[in-house]
């Protein structure tokens, strides 16, 4: 296990997490499409087959329901499978297995059958991908009781969230923001923190709170930086764990500023962003000087590359929403 703090990209941090988990626990198995010799189309599983052998990290036939369904069986039988869905939209063929089995097996069996498994889903846009490669599909999973759903926004969180996800006795849908794969940052793998279920304040601020997760956190931080120059102090909360949700941290942040904007890339309708607005409003109503605003993707299929920038929450759009938080009167 690496113990030093090193600069790693999120892809490298995820690879390190898999490597460390496989070293520590021989019941951890990694499989999916192209995760073997190729190391995955994003190289997250790079070198694992070479290091741990073909049994521990292997390619499957091309069938996502098969991958998840087989993982269910292996998890029933003492393993901790970590499977990769190649892209967000290519996890949909596995939806029945995820909704009807992965999510429900513990409950169906009165707690007798646990499914300690992780489904890794590279998701969201920002990389100029063609259709079916850029969906923000987190709401489908977050709405499904029984699933833990997390999404990192930094290499360090990627490492620790994945380690904890693999250690969890519950199934975890692990959403990886593709556009953050290559950005490097400090990761001290020897300084663990338990991030599942815990939001984190990424930047303090006093005037309004930006609530973001995954691919939108960096945009929110940028917006906060610019707002600072314009004399407005924005707090940024990284939700990190969509299920369970950290009401305490998020609500404390919102109450401290009285104004909030939720930022998420997914289409807004019936989304995780809707949920955050709803629960923050329910819990912090009398602290709110303005309705909580959303900056989300439009309710359209993910656009072609040349138009994708209009779908992604932008710094300007976030700042516009902040401007809209009824600063004058009320």
């Amino acid at each position: 296990m690496a113990t030093d703090s090193t600069k790693l990209s999120m892809a490298q941090a995820l690879n390190q997490a898999l490597r460390d988990a496989m070293t520590e626990d021989e019941t951890v198995y990694v499989f999916g499409e192209d995760v073997g010799p190729l190391g995955g189309v994003f190289r997250i599983t790079d070198g694992l087959t070479a290091e741990f052998g073909e049994d521990r990290c292997f390619d499957t036939p091309l069938a996502e329901s098969g991958i998840v369904g087989m993982a269910v069986g292996m998890a029933m039988n003492g393993m901790r499978p970590v499977v990769e869905m190649q892209f967000d939209a290519f996890a949909y063929p596995a939806f029945e297995q995820i909704a009807s089995h992965v999510a429900k097996t513990r409950n169906r069996t009165r707690g007798r059958v646990a499914l300690p498994m992780v489904i890794r889903v590279p998701y969201a846009g920002g990389i100029g991908g063609v259709e079916h490669h850029c969906d923000s599909s987190e709401a489908y999973y977050a709405h499904t009781p029984g699933l833990t759903v997390v999404t990192p926004s930094t290499p360090a969180d990627a490492y620790f969230l994945l380690r904890e996800a693999i250690r969890s006795d519950d199934p975890v849908v692990f959403m990886e923001p593709k556009k953050l794969y290559w950005g490097k940052d400090e990761v001290d793998t020897s300084a663990p923190e338990p991030p599942i279920g815990r939001a984190v304040v990424r930047r303090p601020g006093t005037d309004a709170t930006l609530i973001a997760y995954g691919p939108s956190v960096s945009t929110a931080l940028e917006a906060a930086e610019i707002a600072q120059q314009e004399g407005r102090s924005l707090q940024v909360v990284d939700v990190r764990s969509l299920v369970p949700f950290d009401d305490a941290t998020v609500c404390e942040a919102v109450r401290s500023t009285g104004r909030a904007v939720v930022v998420a890339e997914a289409s807004g309708y019936a989304s995780v962003a809707s949920e955050i607005v709803a629960r923050v409003t329910e819990r912090c109503f009398h602290s709110l000087a303005a309705p909580v605003r959303r900056v989300t993707g439009f309710d359209i299929p993910f656009p072609p590359p040349k138009l994708e920038r209009f779908q992604l929450p932008s710094v300007d759009r976030i700042l516009d929403a902040v401007d809209d938080l009824q600063w004058e009167d009320q």
Binding site: M70, R106, R108, T148, P244
Partner: protein, 362 residues
């Protein structure tokens, strides 16, 4: 590829005992010995009793619904008896008799249909997966269990059950293919009872038989008379042995018939005639075994009385168990969703507890 013809199933389903209860001459497989057949007969009788008792409990309003395998007990018995202790069974909603034959308490099995909870038994106790409702999905779990066992070097074989209708689902395909590619020790045992609710086999496939589906996975398909207990036993024994020996997954199709409606809620007269059903009465698996075993003088009147008594005791225990008030606590709703309830669930549990306490004081 010179031997791809070997993948084709036999032209006729394997039969060891014909419809009159007489051994078939020149049968392809050895006849199981009398001891095994007597055990099988006992299991058939109990299976039938379990089926009919459960149906009666539905009529009495004590169970919501019951998909009976009445008439398919040879398959149910065979599926359970083919297993060694360390093996796994992956049953469907219709396979209660097999689950019971494997050793699970029928009352626990019926928890689902009594409405107390979903899967009512401990899957690890007898290595029986929860009865699957979403069709064909369990076949993939079976492959996973088998693959995990193989990776650990265990000699576990997994028996995965499904119906004719379920073979049309994508998961059927993916399961057989994964099993074949990974040489997972799974026996896929399809009970072709000619109907998927109202839909007849002809609407399900244009293949000469369901066993032919093995060919596309490089898996030999085998056909068996599903109402012929010795044949089912012999074919499944051979399939289990092959899977255990590392020959990879096996596909067995049993030709049988769903004697009753899909469930009590179904009206079979809308889609099939009594004339179609009638001839199957004569092919009843119990009858056939009884005739044979009586003729062989293995089955005496005293033995029959013993077995009937045993079956009645099972039925009585079912009635008693089902009559018991086993209402689950509302708090259990939140107990098993995660290993530890989330803060959100704790909140919701508290909300419900408060609501109930206020209800109580009203």
């Amino acid at each position: 590829m010179a031997d791809d013809r070997d993948l084709l199933p036999s032209e006729q389903p394997v039969q060891l005992l014909d419809e009159t209860g007489s051994p078939v001459a020149g049968a392809a497989l050895p006849f199981p010995d009398s001891e095994r057949l007597l055990a099988a007969y006992t299991s058939l009788v109990i299976g039938r009793r379990v089926n009919d008792q459960a149906s009666a409990l539905v009529r009495q309003g004590r169970l919501a619904v019951y998909p009976s395998s009445h008439g398919q007990e040879a398959c149910q018995t065979g599926a359970a008896m083919a297993l060694a202790e360390g093996d796994w069974l992956f049953p469907t909603y219709r396979d209660t008799a097999a689950v019971v034959a494997r050793g699970v308490d029928p009352v626990e099995v019926l928890t689902l249909l009594k409405g107390d909870w979903h899967a009512g038994y401990d899957p690890y106790a007898h290595r029986v997966a929860p009865q699957a409702t979403p069709l064909a999905t369990q076949l993939l779990h079976a492959v996973g269990v088998a693959h995990a066992a193989r990776l650990r070097g265990e000699d576990t074989v997994v028996m995965a059950l499904c119906g004719d209708g379920a073979t049309s689902e994508g998961d059927f395909h993916e399961a057989l293919n994964f099993a074949a590619v990974f040489k997972a020790p799974v026996v896929f045992f399809v009970q072709n009872n000619e109907y998927a609710i109202s839909v007849p086999l002809a609407r399900q496939t244009a293949a000469p038989s369901l066993a032919h589906k093995g060919v596309g996975y490089g898996m030999k398909g085998e056909r068996v008379d599903g109402n012929d207990t010795p044949a089912v036993l012999a074919v499944l024994d051979r399939a289990m042995a092959a899977a255990r020996a590392g020959e990879g997954p096996q596909l067995v199709e049993a030709h049988t018939y769903r004697m009753q409606p899909h469930t009590n809620a179904d009206d079979a007269s809308r889609y099939r005639s009594q004339e179609e059903v009638d001839p199957w009465e004569a092919r009843d698996p119990l009858l056939r075994m009884e005739t044979y075993l009586k003729r062989k003088r293995v089955l005496t009147k005293a033995r029959i009385a013993q077995i009937t008594e045993k079956a009645e005791a099972v039925a009585a225990a079912m009635r008693e168990g089902i009559a018991k008030d086993t209402d689950p606590e509302p708090a259990e709703l939140f107990a098993h969703v995660y290993s530890t309830p989330t803060p959100q669930l704790d909140e919701q549990a508290a909300f419900l507890a408060d609501e109930l306490s206020r209800e109580g004081t009203n």
